[in-house]
Symmetry: C2
Subunit: 874 residues, 2 copies
């Protein structure tokens, strides 16, 4: 049997969404439910793929199938396509699996030409209406199918109105419209190089082609990437008999939601226009009426509308977003779909639907987009205030939330201003680990360079501070302490407002409102916890972060980065001394200072986390990250250490690496300097014993050795750790269990995971590094070419945002398959940034990990995503 | 059945080498052949592994087995261990699977104590001999088992001789020896903290333990790494009844080879000493006699020796290296093994043995170490002249051969001096791509920084130029143009001589001799070509390199690095303009200049290679490598391009990458700038058409796209290449086949090799990068920590020298398994440096690759290694 590429609405149903697209499947479903739907057919998504496979041509077979289906439609409606007496007119709309702005939307009135327009004029007795429809069609077709710029048509229309001294479209007479049409056709021929097609079949095939083509326009590609929609899905095309909301005062058109999409309130919400087509509503020339007014205008139609709306909501068991048209008093539905909504509304609707008995808890959990919760967890601008402002620049939405404050150009100055009680915004070309305290003191962070995974972005997300990164339009003058966006120059102390969720930058001080996490949030999270299998931990380096995460429901710490602790002002000199020591003894002396500090760090964290598991990673980054670069800093360090400037400078130079990401870091540091691992192990164990004693707990610390690629290096460092830990336990006469495990973040670690599992008590997948090494590019450098990769659809999504299933994911799977037989009870987790990404969380669920770990502010997202993964993959 | 850990010689044979070690297996074999071997037993290599697994203790079971076997030996010999009347004495020697200097060698006379020495004195009637034996035993035991420094014993001996006014050891009387022994024991107790053991069984167990322990001493670890011997092999211990070459004038001991190990000449070669133990020969106090003299001294023993030597050579079918002792006129063999030999000797012996009908060609091929051929292919110092010089410094033996010349500190000056007819040595802190011409003009290259895979090393090996890299003792003063080794300072124009095979640096101008590749070499290579399955290609970027490689037997080019061509003086300005272009048009203009040059490059190479396959890799390195760094160079470029200094500097800064190895390079360049790929494709195709026409050939160019991790990026670049290639072919009205393939050098490429194989016509494994990404460290930076990794036995060998089977090798295997079903005829090769490493070549053979590609000077090595792989894995 040959494949079927075209379906009448009555041949389909809601389950055929992949084939028919969302719009097509819903039109089919509604048809099946006996609702008033103008009939039509859907050209499938497979036809779209065939079009691309076929060198961007619709095959003869598919064209024939479209024609045959059109004939059936003609027969049913009793009208004929292009008929000079009573022509069949159709709308043509795109409809992908997921609702997708950015693609071609709609062509109305297709099928009109000189003859059929005349026929329509005669048949309806409304020549103005007929010629206005033809006029609209030419304009829409030229724009959408042939990309003739709309303003050129608008200009003709304006000129005709001006020449006739009228102001509104509806004042145009038949003659004026004929004049407009004639001029439109001249313009069309001039722009396109051929006559405007009069054959309706040609019009139709061109329109279908245009929809298919729009699947790959840049806006659609961008939208797909942002929403992780694969290019293979393709779009369907819906061809539907036209009904006319603009055929008189007894007609109209509108859009409505079964509930309020902003608040979730259970009340019909929407608007309509009498005697109008859909585009009039959008164009905003006339002000539409609230949907409730329809009850007075057309009580019968309103009653029917409400009945069907309720039926649809009950049928789809979700808030519906519906388009309708009333033609000469008869109501038609043109579309229904689950409505887009704000995070607040999403929560309320999901919880309400459960309370109304319409959804189970599990179903309700699937109704809320996990990523959307982000909106709820951060400060946001007062909506009314924000509306008064125009953005002056746009960067990457690197960390959600909103923040306003006086700008400062160094972390130190930001910190000082914050200490004086000012609200501050830190402005930097890029941030580095020394800036952490300044970032923590800021309402928001703005950087000129760097992407979504730059230092600023990663750290800000971890802190829950809003951040706009990579704002390439900005120019910082560090000496003069100014930042310029084009001509606008701001100096230290001026106010800027940052919208971290959109990437927009505003002048002035826009007031913010605190996040409002109501009872709906708590109830949904409770359900999520009930159904999820994955545990959710957090990546936290301070007691404060740990507390935030616990408040958000974190069940442990999956990653404490000890190096972040090393950057504090009072420690960095000791760290530098440690690094620059030329003997083990000197190094141990510097380490003994750090020991005291690290112990306090861990005590603080244990006190917050209590018996929740805490995984501490040993020192990871290349040592030179800690070193001073400015000559005066080097001199200061030299003075402090009693060394010459040259000696310190020389040692710093020696530590320089060509590729620090692939250099002397991770467990390699501890292989060279086991005394670092020993100090850290001592701090971890001493802190645990101390807190256990004081608080009567039984903390079991998890010590994690990073960047292992070979079991013998793990074994070497593990031995140093275990020897120290056991010695400390013996010294203190305490009892303490502890685990020693490793990060799996190098391809080789995945290949030899069986060996490694024999030594490691747990694995934590470090998917940031694993992604870097697997792809062979660094996050810091990939920004230079990744945009081209997206534009050319080489990468569909950012592998640092969503786990790359085929490469990185397969390596993870292989690692698990190798490790399990060796150590069946091995604890498996993930602590890369992917741990807070819903798509990656589902992947981790399927892999059978025990937990994901993410930044504190993403813990609720991970909890919900984990529940959704469990429910979907039951 | 419990495992057997101890074997009598009569229980073993030559096939048990893995279990008994080389020495033990040969002693067993000779015993089986009825040769005069002092009897004994071997403690197996498995016992050694058990010792390490058991926390460095010999288990009770193994101790018991040793004792039981010792009892059997006592019974057979009729002597008893520690017997005060006629004691059994033994030697204890290590013996691994492969002969391994660096481990403990020998303890003689074990079993002696006060009583048994007295018994021996009485029984032999030679008290001097008995006490001298005891004296030697104490000294050897203390040194080897307890690490008491030898000089402390030598001092006592010297003092006693002085006190007694004698000069030679053999003048020591029994009394003096008793005195020495007493003092030795005091020293022993003082140094070790316990009495010298008098229980022979204790002595034996301690000695066996010491052999096991020596398996992991630093020298042994170093040797294993250099020779790729896995630590798991372990060593066996041979315990053998003592025979005494020092029991009188009718006794003696010696070492002999069945052929000359330096020249391969078929003539007994060796030396012996009358009335001596083995250590006397080594100590060099008395001058040994040539073995031929033995015929006069002891005709019967000599005759028997020659007979057995001939038998042994015939039996092992290889030149033998034998140790023997004559005790009271009776000949004993203590050891035989295949003798070490020079490369020249190895060739001659292998070819002679075939001519003598003793070996088949295949067997002969296995007798020559492939790596050893390196010695034959390069200039070397005149041996006699070299002997007159002392090295003044030592670096890494980065590229073999020898060279002497006047030193110059910049590539440019080296080039100019060379042009004037001087022999020059280029001296640099490190080299970079701009130095290539200067390197080519030099007799040798010396660098202060960088390892075996540094730029200098890689390029020098490719050129066949000798190179000493990473000579850390050297200090260069670039301004004064001097290099200092400690106090010795050399200035521009002074002579230095470099030994690239040893890494040694000499003062002055040591004469060199040309490589002498005789008929034996040609015959062996002919046999190799007959038996190998792998093709051998070369990595060559110039017609000269290509010619060298063809002369050495290369069957094609596996890798032409087009970027090396870009560094030439007349091209780099155009390359810089290409990079700094701000529009596609500007870039295309710069590229059009480069097109002309590249076409000539490829014409030159095709003219040499003719119809042999040539794989050209598109531009690979990060663009900023080509950019100027010095301000004056930036200014010059700015002037040339009519841009401001700031504009050029700014663009250079923008191109800076944190991790260039993981940055904007490889096919990523061509995704961003397809016009580069187009220019290169055009040059490749035009050159091929030109040479085909002029020379009447049918060259099939292979275009290789580097650093692919995702099939869509390959597909994108491939399309640009194919469109250009087809257009060129059409323009020229020519017929030309060509292939487009890819390098597999990222872990992700291996994971998605099935996708990639659908698009790529060939794969070439780029194992340099694949190793970097799989391990997550860069060759340039790993030097900082790899030494610690070797010392701590975390890595057994350098993964950049030998393919890492478990990680990188598994990824390669996976890639092939995925690719083959998709494209069964896919051509598979390797072009990393591993392509010239015999161990890796064998791995490639087993993987079923079609070819290996290596630097020109390693082609013969690869040919031999490929033949050996085919023969071994038949």
């Amino acid at each position: 049997m040959t494949k079927k590429f075209v379906y009448r609405f009555q041949e389909g149903n809601a389950s055929m969404r992949n084939l028919l697209g969302g719009k097509g499947a819903n039109l089919a479903e509604m048809t099946g439910l006996g609702m008033p739907i103008p009939q039509g057919f859907t050209v499938t998504t497979e036809a779209c793929n065939d079009y691309y496979a076929n060198g961007q041509k619709i095959s003869e077979e598919i064209q024939a199938e479209i024609k045959a289906t059109l004939n059936a439609l003609e027969e049913e409606s009793g009208k004929k396509f292009g008929d000079p007496v009573d022509p069949l007119l159709v709308s043509v709309r795109s409809g992908a699996r997921a609702s997708m702005p950015g693609m071609m939307d709609t062509i109305l009135n297709l099928g009109l030409n000189e003859e059929s327009t005349a026929g329509m004029a005669k048949k309806t007795g409304n020549a103005r209406f007929a010629y206005d429809s033809y006029r609209r069609f030419i304009q829409m077709y030229a724009d959408v199918v042939k990309e003739v710029p709309k303003p050129r048509f608008e200009q003709i229309l304006a000129q005709v109105k001006e020449a006739n001294n009228i102001h509104f479209d509806n004042e145009l007479t038949e003659d004026m419209l004929q004049d407009v049409i004639a001029q439109y056709k001249v313009l069309y021929k001039e722009a396109v190089g051929e006559d405007f097609p009069s054959d309706p079949l040609v019009q139709l095939m061109e329109a279908v082609t245009a929809v298919f083509r729009s699947w790959n326009n840049p806006r659609a590609i961008y939208y797909r990437r942002m929403n992780n929609i694969p290019p293979e899905w393709g779009t369907a095309v819906n061809v539907q008999r036209m009904v006319f909301g603009n055929s008189g005062e007894n007609s109209g058109t509108g859009v409505a939601f079964t509930r309020n999409p902003a608040t979730g309130e259970k009340k019909l919400f929407g608007e309509y226009l009498i005697n109008a087509q859909g585009e009039d509503v959008v164009a905003g020339i006339r002000t539409p009426q609230p949907i409730a007014v329809l009850e007075q205008d057309m009580p019968a139609a309103y009653k029917e509308f409400v009945e069907i709306a309720n039926k649809l909501e009950a049928h789809y068991r979700d808030m519906q977003d519906m388009e309708f048209t009333i033609e000469d008093g008869k109501l038609y539905f043109l579309q229904t779909r689950n409505g887009k909504r704000t995070a607040h509304a999403a929560l309320k609707i999901a919880v309400d639907l459960v309370d109304e008995g319409m959804l189970t808890e599990e179903e309700a959990l699937l109704k809320v987009e996990a990523d959307q919760l982000n909106q709820l967890l951060h400060k946001s601008f007062d909506t009314a205030e924000l509306a008064k402002h125009q953005a002056i620049a746009e960067g990457l939405p690197a960390s959600p939330g909103s923040g306003a404050g006086k700008i400062y150009f160094t972390a130190e100055e930001a910190k000082q201003a914050h200490a004086k009680g000012e609200r501050v915004v830190l402005v930097r070309n890029e941030t580095s680990p020394e800036d952490i305290e300044g970032m923590a003191a800021s309402e928001g962070v703005l950087t000129v360079h760097g992407g979504m995974t730059s230092h600023a972005a990663v750290v800000a997300r971890g802190m829950g501070t809003c951040c706009v990164a990579g704002c390439a339009q900005a120019r910082i003058n560090e000496e003069e302490k100014t930042i310029a966006f084009g001509d606008k120059v701001f100096k230290e102390g001026d106010f800027l407002s940052l919208h971290g969720s959109t990437g927009k930058v505003y002048e002035g001080d826009i007031p913010t409102v605190e996040p409002n996490i109501g009872g709906d949030f708590a109830r949904l999270m409770e359900w999520a916890d009930k159904y999820r299998i994955l545990k959710v931990r957090t990546n936290a380096d301070t007691p404060k972060d740990a507390q935030t995460a616990v408040d958000f429901g974190a069940e442990g710490i999956g990653l404490t980065r000890t190096e972040h602790m090393f950057f504090k002002e009072d420690r960095i000199p000791r760290v530098r001394q440690m690094i620059l020591s030329s003997t083990v003894e000197e190094r141990k002396k510097a380490l003994s200072y750090l020991l005291e500090m690290q112990r306090q760090d861990f005590i603080g964290i244990y006190e917050v986390m209590q018996e929740r598991p805490v995984t501490v990673r040993l020192l990871d980054p290349p040592l030179h990250e800690f070193l001073p670069t400015a000559d005066e800093d080097i001199q200061a360090l030299a003075d402090e250490m009693g060394l010459s400037f040259e000696a310190v400078k020389g040692r710093c130079d020696e530590l320089h690496e060509f590729n620090p990401m692939m250099g002397h870091r991770g467990c390699r540091l501890c292989v060279t300097y086991p005394e670092i691992a020993e100090m850290q192990a001592r701090a971890i164990i001493e802190a645990a014993i101390d807190v256990n004693k004081r608080m009567g707990l039984a903390i079991v610390p998890e010590i994690m050795i990073p960047l292992v690629g070979e079991v013998r290096e793990l074994d070497f460092v593990r031995k140093a750790v275990v020897a120290t830990a056991d010695a400390v336990i013996a010294e203190q006469g305490a009892k303490l269990e502890y685990l020693v495990g490793t990060m799996i973040e190098l391809p080789r670690a995945c290949m030899v995971a069986d060996d490694i599992a024999a030594v490691a008590q747990f694995f934590s997948f470090g998917t940031n590094d694993l992604t870097q090494m697997t792809f062979g590019f660094s996050r810091d450098d990939a920004g230079k070419f990744l945009d081209e990769y997206y534009n050319k659809q080489i990468y569909v999504s950012d592998p640092f945002a969503h786990i790359d299933f085929k490469g990185v994911g397969e390596l993870m799977k292989m690692a698990i398959e190798k490790a399990k037989p060796v150590r069946p009870d091995i604890k498996l987790g993930i602590c890369g940034e992917h741990g807070g990404d819903p798509i990656s969380v589902e992947f981790c669920h399927k892999l059978g990990l025990a937990y994901v770990s993410c930044s504190p502010f993403r813990v609720p997202i991970a909890r919900l995503a984990a529940a959704q993964a469990a429910i979907k993959n039951k």
